[in-house]
Amino acid sequence: MGGLSNIKKILLLTYGCNLDHSNINYLVKDRLSPFEIEWGNIPKNVDGKRNVLFQYDVYDANIENNNKVSDIYFHQYLISENHLNAFEYSLSKLNKGMNTCCHLDARGHIEIEIDHIEYSARTLIPIDKKTIIILLDEEAEANAFIRSQLHLLPAELQYLIVDYKLSYDEQKFKMKRWIQQILLMCK
């Protein structure tokens, strides 16, 4: 029987630009939906192989496409590691975007100011804790314009990956330089 003690908590993030949302939504419905659980409520009487508390999250640099998948994050599933690997493999066959397993509860925030204007981003931490993925969000008011232009920018500016070992101030410094580059490109 499954128990809380051996549960792994994983969030799989797919990120990129103009992702294959039709197939992503199909895979979520077909492969994950049957294994959805009530949020935060891990059933006691389940197959012990279903030991991964799983969430899926999708980030598309094209905000119009992102709106199609923004609800995916609000579901939790209980699956086996083989199931997770198979799901990840299916996503990889779509050949669009990157797929990274992250810590389930590591969905943080980082804010910086440029010329007294606040910009914000959310952060995710891959399982290996070697990097932090920083994605422009829609929290700060000033984000609205640059977020809407993100898909028009070079791929290397659509997200930021920094070393996990950086201090918070160093992360902010890197983010500030990143946003400054985006602002320059958006002019």
Partner: protein, 108 residues
């Protein structure tokens, strides 16, 4: 939250969310010295932040605990959580999910 939102989910928030938020605030208060708070008011729109931020508690160095809520695009599922300065606000704590009818804007 606003009168209309309170009418719709106020009781559930009071029962399921507020006790956990209070406990978290008290626990954080053992480590940090509360000085002030920063609520959801903003200059634009209806005057209330439509993002995740609800309220943060601050000491002399700024926020030490931030209470947030995520709302899905259909506005019928909300996930309430908090972040701590201890880990640079990178981890979610709490993660209480409520399902409800579609909500109007925060503050309405």
């Amino acid at each position: 939250m606003g009168k209309e939102v309170t009418k719709r989910i106020g009781n559930e928030v009071e029962a399921k969310v507020i006790p956990k938020f209070k406990d978290a605030a008290e626990e954080a208060g053992k480590k940090y010295t509360y000085k002030s708070s920063k609520g959801p008011t903003v200059s634009g729109g209806n005057g209330i932040n439509q993002g995740e931020h609800i309220i943060s508690l601050q000491d002399n160095a700024g926020d030490y605990i931030r209470f947030h809520v995520n709302l899905n695009s259909s506005r019928n599922t909300s996930t309430w959580h908090w972040h701590l300065r201890d880990d640079n606000f990178q981890w979610h704590y709490g993660q209480i999910q409520l399902k409800h009818n579609s909500l109007p804007k925060w503050g309405d």
